[in-house]
């Protein structure tokens, strides 16, 4: 019964988790929040992570009630993500792995989300909608790979939401997406925005340009409120996500859908996905913000599966990589 330590810090969240045999023993996390109207830059984010990660590591061990010797494997995010933050977390992983003489495992961040989603919800073989600030993919498992059926051809849906929040100077605490969601609940008017599904894929950068421009014009004339714009943006982008997920489910004959990633916390998205699933007689699975949002335990869980399947990452191969496709990993722990 291996206990795995997982370290994550590919974007503005840094977390350390401990997982043993399907139980999450600890999962502390900190978020780097920047002032309204700004986003997080790699150097500053890395500085934040370096300042808190050792405290998080100590907290995780204490909460799990384990000593370093009782940990069997050190998992960390190899990629994808932002360079300097990834490095800051990876060097800690490598250092403790060497200090404690434990095997090291570089984990794909997207697969971390998927494996935690599977563990928490119990979904057997779902079509996965992975939506966050950095990624937007529709994924299904087939023959030892997590295959990408559809994805964004430019920016992630969360990136679109976050950058729109900056235009309206919406607070980034606890996250811009959360605050857009609250404002959207008070929206009354649907502003027509471009709808850009491209076959199995989606595009968001055009919608962002359009709504940034619309915000300047329409808020000045009082034609609509910021709440109306938040509402309209969510309705449009979420409908697009539901469409491409449904398309993949139809291709695969899938009766299960799983939403993972930070944008998966959004209750309106969950509601729209639930409607689509019910119409198809399928079941929807989603997790709460502890596991939707980037966290260390998801890396530990993916690491746990990989460790038991015999994967190891030698130090010389342990470099981080900002680009790391979900289908690059051979998923030997599933049939």
């Amino acid at each position: 019964m291996p206990a795995v330590l997982g370290l994550e810090g590919s974007a503005n969240k840094v977390g350390v988790g401990v997982v043993r045999d399907g139980a999450v023993l600890a999962n502390p996390r900190r978020t780097y929040v920047t002032p309204p109207g700004t986003g997080f830059l790699p150097g500053d984010t890395a500085r934040h992570h370096r300042a808190v990660i050792l405290d998080l590591l100590q907290e995780a061990l204490t909460e799990a009630g384990l000593t370093s010797q009782e940990i069997d494997c050190i998992a960390y995010t190899k990629g994808p993500g932002m360079g300097a933050p990834l490095v800051s977390v990876a060097v800690v992983a490598r250092t403790v792995a060497q200090l404690w003489n434990k095997p090291l495992l570089g984990v794909n961040h997207c697969i971390g989300h998927i494996e935690m989603g599977r563990l928490i919800t119990g979904a057997t073989s779902p079509t996965v909608l992975y939506v966050s600030g950095g990624n937007t993919q529709v994924i299904a498992y087939s023959e030892r790979r997590y295959r990408i059926f559809g994805e964004t051809i430019d920016i992630a849906v969360g990136n679109c939401l976050d950058r729109f929040a900056r235009v309206l100077k919406i607070s980034n605490d606890p996250s811009p997406g959360y605050n857009i969601e609250q404002m959207a609940k008070r929206g009354k008017k649907l502003v027509e925005l471009p709808y850009t599904v491209k076959g199995m894929d989606v595009s968001f950068s055009g919608i962002l340009s359009f709504i940034e421009d619309a915000a300047q014009r329409m808020l000045a004339t009082g034609e609509c409120t910021p709440e109306d714009l938040c509402f309209s943006l969510q309705e449009t982008v979420f409908a697009m996500l539901v469409e491409i997920t449904e398309r993949a489910m139809a291709h695969c004959g899938s009766q299960e859908a799983l939403i993972v990633g930070g944008v998966g916390c959004n209750l309106r998205l969950q509601e729209m996905m639930e409607t689509m699933c019910q119409e198809r007689g399928a079941r929807l699975f989603a997790t709460d913000e502890r596991f939707c949002i980037d966290n260390g335990a998801m890396i530990a869980q993916a690491g746990w599966e990989m460790f038991r399947a015999g994967h190891r990452t030698p130090l010389s191969d342990s470099g981080i990589t900002q680009r790391y496709r979900t289908d690059e990993v051979e998923v030997t722990w599933r049939d």
Binding site: A46, R47, R50, I53, L54, L57, Q58, S68, Q69, G83, A84, V87, S88, A90, V91, V92, R94, T95, V96, Q98, L99, W100, N101, L315, S316, D317, S318, G319, I320
Partner: protein, 149 residues
């Protein structure tokens, strides 16, 4: 830690970029600096522009200068120096191959050596390395000493 500008084909320690072609006033000069209090090399005058060209064009024609920076970091033991090297070596430098970094362990000292043609990227790389090095050392202090092998 002064980076001194050596003209006329190097001559500073470790130089291996020769002059580019006949009549080229400087070739790729080399600047060397070492941490830990060694005096910087004597500054030589910048090479004069070629007749009929200007300094920027000359630098472009000869491919630019190579900058070298070396750092020696002492550790309490060889094991810890090896661990630090193992943690800091695997990540590739960003921006392709513009900045090269080499880490080696000599006894209980971690020796790091940089080569770069772009001084700004070199400076960024050094500062970033020092930040990550500091994190590695804090990690070793807090979660060490190394378990017996």
């Amino acid at each position: 830690m002064q980076a001194a500008d050596a003209g006329a084909g190097g001559g500073a320690e470790g130089a291996d970029d020769g002059a580019d072609g006949p009549g080229s006033p400087g070739g790729a000069g080399e600047a060397t600096a070492a941490a830990l209090g060694r005096a910087p090399p004597v500054t030589r005058p910048r090479h004069a522009p070629r007749p009929g060209g200007d300094a920027a064009a000359t630098a472009g024609r000869t491919g630019g200068r190579t900058y070298v920076f070396a750092l020696c970091v002492p550790f309490p033991s060889a094991v810890e120096a090896e661990i630090a090297c193992g943690s800091l070596a695997p990540d590739a430098e960003p921006h392709g191959g513009v900045v090269e970094k080499q880490l080696t362990v000599r006894g209980s000292v971690l020796a790091v050596r940089w080569r770069a043609t772009n001084p700004r990227l070199l400076r960024i790389s050094i500062i970033s390395f020092l930040d990550q090095l500091s994190l590695v050392m804090r990690t070793m202090q807090r979660f060490g000493p190394p378990a017996t092998r």
